[in-house]
């Protein structure tokens, strides 16, 4: 079987997307990662430590839950991959566990990270506490307000949270600040990127760490239905890490329909959106070539989404390739639609999803299913952090 979608080439390209567009100041750190990541993460020692922590600390495998009442509603079979039950409340920790072990193997002493919803920041602060490493998390000023509980959690875990005050004061700007900090403090520091974005090897590395999601889906689905492959896998896409993990082992299985859901914000054409594939063109952001929301002059556009984790003007290069090649279908859900889906799941299944994951849930309304389809939705995180948005919605 030829691998067309799963991994990039030696220079980090998925088709025409990817690469490492970085200033020379970052070259030593990024080059070191490029040279060493595969060797380290494929070693027996690493795999044993990683798997043990995923099991005993994160609580993996996460359940694949057959959502009976939701299935009845849509007249098909819907399974929820419960990443919301991971320690810290989202899939993000799969990646931070992997990257902290890698950082330690490389002899790094300090960790920096960017965060949008704060889930990646919390997951990073958590693994730093676990390993006794210093941790600085950059977070957009706007996101610090709308995800205040996660700011408090990071601080309680001993991390320093630094506000990003430039641009739209959200995830893109936090990422800029993290990269600038890394340029200024290259020694002993590892940058734990939170999604399948950034210069090569980050997209591939993060996808590999998250691929545990689809690895589990395969055997869990087989146990439940007798078949390894679902008919559909649906996941939301900010940068695209939970989607990359949920798609990973199905990428080369052409019978599995892959559906990525972006945040339409107030509507794709409203001017307040984060639907990158609908609105974006090829460009370079944060060190890789991908699809990007930008002006005709190549200035990056400020995105909008109610969900901080999807409020990003780009997507990872793997997803840009999946979009261009047609391997995955890209849909979107608006702020209001995501809210609606969140309340629906809460009341049908007793599960309060993260706003990000609610975008993936909503598109059930836009798709036609057969009675015997089996649909897997990646429930990337839980909704505790979004309670203030949910409370506002209830007041309306």
């Amino acid at each position: 079987m030829s691998v067309r979608y799963q991994n990039p080439d030696a220079l980090g390209y998925y088709g025409k997307f990817g690469g490492a567009f970085i200033p020379e100041m970052l070259y030593p750190n990024v080059h070191e990662l490029q040279q060493q990541y595969l060797q380290i993460i494929q070693s027996e020692k690493f795999k044993n430590e990683f798997n043990l922590l995923l099991k005993d600390y994160v609580g993996r495998p996460t359940p694949l839950y057959y959502a009976q009442r939701l299935s009845n509603e849509f007249n098909t079979n819907i399974f929820l991959k419960r990443e919301d039950l991971c320690h810290t409340g989202a899939h993000k920790i799969n990646n931070t566990i992997g990257q902290i072990l890698l950082a330690i193997a490389l002899g790094k002493k300090k960790i920096i990270a960017e965060t949008g919803a704060g889930q990646h920041g919390v997951a990073t602060a958590t693994v730093c506490a676990l390993n006794g490493l210093d941790c600085i998390v950059f977070m957009g000023e706007k996101d610090m307000e709308r995800q205040a509980p996660n700011v408090a959690r990071m601080k309680m875990l001993g991390a320093t949270v630094l506000p990003a005050k430039s641009g739209s004061k959200t995830l893109k700007d936090a990422t800029n600040e993290a990269i600038r900090y890394w340029i200024n403090h290259p020694d002993d520091t590892h940058y734990i990127i939170g999604s399948v974005v950034g210069p090569h090897p980050y997209p591939d590395m993060v996808a590999r760490f998250q691929s545990v999601i689809s690895e589990e889906i395969r055997w869990q689905l087989k146990e439940k239905t007798g078949k390894e492959n679902p008919s559909h896998v649906i996941a939301c896409v900010g940068g695209g890490s939970n989607a990359a993990g949920a798609f990973y082992h199905f990428l080369e299985e052409s019978g599995v329909e892959l559906i990525a859901v972006e945040a339409a914000g107030q509507g794709v054409e409203s001017g307040f959106s984060a639907a990158t594939t609908a609105l974006g063109t090829t460009g370079i952001l944060h060190g890789s070539k991908s699809l990007l929301m930008q002006t005709p002059d190549g200035q990056v556009t400020e995105p909008h989404s109610i969900s901080a984790g999807l409020d990003y003007p780009g997507i990872g290069p793997m997803h840009a390739h999946l979009f261009e090649s047609g391997r995955a279908r890209f849909l979107s859900a608006t702020d209001d639609e995501a809210l609606k889906a969140a309340f629906q799941l809460a009341q049908l299944e007793g599960i309060i999803p993260a706003l990000e994951s609610a975008h993936a849930l909503y598109v059930l309304n836009n798709l036609k299913f057969k009675k015997d389809d089996s649909i897997v939705i990646c429930l990337s995180g839980r909704g505790d952090k979004d309670l203030s948005a949910y409370m506002q919605a209830m007041e309306k």
Partner: protein, 259 residues
């Protein structure tokens, strides 16, 4: 003869490269700033193209870029502003920017327009050397544009030699791993520049990042052929209405005894 060759044939040390942001402080001050820089002793002008996400830049240059963008600066407008600049400016002028806006403009079109207007070279700090070799290097060569790579104290000897061989015009020695405008330990910078000098590279070396006054400029000029000043000058222009006077009072102390 290329302008850079002419310059470095005539002047081997204390070559002063001044950075300014196009469209800053006012949309139409680009030419005024360039004329003031040339009149007050700059040997090279590095004109920055503003970008929404300038990863290699510190707060001062970021801010100047945001102001320029708010002023309405674009690459299109820049080339209109530069239409007849060679009638007035004879020092080498390079454009510094990030790859994304250049790619959106069209890389070849950008090179063609830059070259037709009399630009001498380009600095694109996020251009990977692999992409340069594969695709972009020949395009620039076809339009007689020099391309300047950056090296840092952490760049290996082997890589420095490679980047030097790919560069023309000069080689940009970033004084330490940092974004623009941060303070430096000048002793460490000297050691590094001394090391660069010992490699006997093909290009002249200009040191940049953190050079802000006569003292820091003279310090790098002990081993490098010259230095690049950016953030400190941008700061000096802030809120100034008389660009020539502000430029003169900024450059006078730096230039004075070197002539």
């Amino acid at each position: 003869m290329k302008r850079f060759d002419k310059l470095f044939n005539a002047k081997k040390s204390h070559v002063l490269n001044m950075y300014c942001t196009a469209g800053y402080p006012q949309l139409n001050s680009t030419m005024q700033v360039m004329k003031a820089l040339q009149a007050n002793g700059a040997d090279i002008i590095e004109l920055g193209i503003p970008y929404s996400d300038p990863l290699a830049d510190g707060p001062v240059i970021q801010q100047s870029g945001s102001i320029a963008l708010a002023n309405g600066m674009t690459i299109q407008k820049l080339f209109v502003q530069l239409k007849n600049f060679r009638k007035e400016i004879n020092v080498p002028v390079i454009l510094m920017g990030y790859l994304n806006p250049v790619l959106q403009y069209g890389f070849e079109k950008f090179c063609a327009d830059a070259s037709a207007n009399g630009i001498d070279g380009l600095i694109l700090p996020d251009m990977p050397e692999h992409e340069f070799e594969k695709e972009y290097g020949t395009i620039m060569e076809n339009y007689h544009l020099d391309f300047i790579f950056l090296v840092t104290p952490e760049t290996s000897e082997e890589r420095i030699k490679k980047l030097d061989s790919l560069s023309s015009g000069f080689l940009y020695a970033v004084s330490s791993s940092s974004t623009t405008g941060s303070d430096k330990n000048m002793d460490e910078v000297s050691n590094y520049l001394q090391r660069l000098k010992s490699y006997q590279l093909k290009n002249p070396i200009l040191a940049g990042f953190g050079i802000k006054d006569k003292e820091t400029f003279d310090a790098v000029c002990r081993y490098a052929n010259g230095g690049i000043i950016g953030s400190a000058y941008i700061k000096a222009l802030e809120g100034e209405t008389d660009i020539n006077a502000a430029t003169e009072s900024f450059l006078k102390p730096i230039i004075s005894t070197n002539k």
